[in-house]
């Protein structure tokens, strides 16, 4: 992959990749490092500009996060919420949601964050996670219902 392509990819997707990893790992420093690593790994990957690059870069980021967690042998923190919610946001709701997210299965949490934080489509999430779009649809719904039950 050429430098110009990776620079373009980095400029477009560094922010959603970083935010996804930060929410997934609850570790800002690790998210920074893994964001860099994801794009550096993409440099040596079989990149094709066919409209699938967003799913592809998130697939790399997700795999790096899995490796990181496996190596560190850690589970995400249950209540660590690093940043103050923005204006108008319900902080209690944000904290409760964060804790509820930590209780989810790892794959469900990843799919939920890929949707809610990174803004990927069902087709992109399916590609990044190696499942079908229908599976993404049903798992997202199931996750929302589970979170809703925990929050009420």
């Amino acid at each position: 992959m050429r430098h110009a392509q990776i620079d373009d990819l980095f400029a477009r997707y560094r922010e959603p990749v970083y935010r996804f990893l930060r929410r997934l790992l609850h570790d800002g420093a690790a998210a920074e490092d893994l964001t860099q690593d994801a794009f550096l790994r993409a440099m040596s990957g079989p990149y094709q500009s066919n409209g699938h690059e967003r799913a592809w870069i998130f697939q790399i980021a997700r795999n790096l996060a899995k490796d990181y967690r496996r190596a560190a042998g850690r589970r995400p923190a249950t209540t660590a919420f690093e940043d103050a919610p923005g204006p108008g946001a319900d902080r209690t709701m944000a904290l409760s949601l964060d804790a509820a997210l930590a209780s989810l299965e790892e794959d469900d949490r990843e799919i939920f964050l890929l949707k809610e934080v990174a803004g990927l489509s069902y087709a992109e999430i399916a590609e990044a996670c190696g499942v079908t779009p229908d599976a993404v649809r049903s798992r997202l719904h199931r996750t929302r219902i589970a979170l809703r039950k925990q929050l009420t």
Partner: protein
């Protein structure tokens, strides 16, 4: 009641995915599905609210690839090794260089001997 057959359509609608319009219309008529819609939107607002801080400065640009860094370290290691070999070479004894001895200061042995006879005019020319 927090869930029924209509809430999946609400979930997909919230995500901007294609939904059956009739199913969506039915869901919006249903109070349980309507409540789910509001809660899903609240959840999304809460998720995004905690993610407002600016990107860290370390992500302003892509770092030097590790491959290039490793390559640089390899070259530096080779250069350091060469310097070490050179310095070790200077410290080693050199058998081809004979150290000066007191005997070597003596004049070499003569190959022939000229005898000077007294009485001969050495300045005479033919």
């Amino acid at each position: 009641m927090t869930d029924n057959d209509l809430t999946p359509a609400i979930s997909a609608f919230v995500d901007g995915e294609p939904v059956d319009p009739d199913q969506l219309a039915a869901a919006l008529e249903d109070p349980v599905a309507r409540a789910a819609l509001v809660d899903f939107v609240r959840m999304r607002a809460a998720m995004r609210a905690g993610d407002d801080p600016p990107l860290p400065p370390s992500l302003s640009s892509l770092r030097l690839p590790p491959v290039a860094r490793v390559r640089f370290l390899q070259w530096a290691a080779v250069a350091a090794l060469l310097v070490l070999v050179f310095l070790a070479g200077l410290a080693l004894p050199r058998p081809w260089q004979v150290p000066p001895t007191p005997e070597s200061d003596a004049p070499p042995a003569p190959a022939r001997i000229e005898k000077f006879t007294p009485g001969i005019d050495w300045h005479q020319t033919n």
